[in-house]
Symmetry: C2
Subunit: 137 residues, 2 copies
């Protein structure tokens, strides 16, 4: 079901300071930086070779990401796996009794996404990602 | 410096229950299970396509992993990147002023490893891994 690890998402408080660390000190290359207005976050994608790192930072103190940051602090938020067919993958997980955050996919930056509940995966929040489906398709 | 993401390490309290979840419910394939006596942990590696998932569980209540679990609960512990030359990579990071947990590499299950301090990477603990160097080499 899970073809490949697409990215590791980490929540950070200051995206500019973090980009400076990752790009200047650690040698990662910035691929894309984008604001996701409906989620009230800014995201930056860094080239990690066979996968990417997604840095996520809240742009509003009331966003879910801001609350996560306040409760848990900076750190790894999710691990995203690419799937061929997100509807089929969600149905398969549901049939296996896996607790899901999203029973139906929603639009992400790079395709359709859905999250598995971290309680179902012993603390690792898994994102399913079906690439290439954008709004209006 | 970082060639590819080799694995995501997650700390779990019960490795058998977690393997059941990952293999039976989520469809991951177990590649290897091994006890690391000196670290007082058992580790299991699951095939994640372009990378692996390492499940880590303490075998002793006094181990560092047991303390991590007691303080932080189950969840993502580290992200391991493969490097060609771990000595050179550590020297480069040190020259950039990056705080390290290990200034010199130590023996891991699949090669030489060293950890960057999570405070230096905004909460993501990065492991450097130079594969293929085993004890006695």
């Amino acid at each position: 079901m899970f073809n490949r690890l697409d990215h590791v998402g980490i929540v950070v408080s200051d995206i500019d300071a973090t980009l400076k660390t990752y790009c200047e000190q650690l040698g990662f290359k910035l691929l894309e930086r984008t604001e996701i207005a409906e989620q009230k976050v800014v995201a930056a994608f860094l080239d990690g070779g066979n996968s990417t790192i997604e840095l996520i930072s809240p742009t509003d103190t009331e966003s879910g990401t801001a609350k996560y940051l306040a409760n848990r602090g900076e750190g790894t938020h999710h691990v995203a796996y690419e799937v061929d067919d997100i509807i089929a993958a969600l149905a398969e997980l549901k049939a296996q009794g896996v607790r899901l955050i999203d029973e139906t996919p929603r639009q992400g930056v790079h395709g359709l996404v859905a999250f598995v509940h971290p309680k179902a995966t012993h603390g690792m929040m898994i994102e399913l990602l079906q690439k290439g489906h954008h709004k209006g398709q």
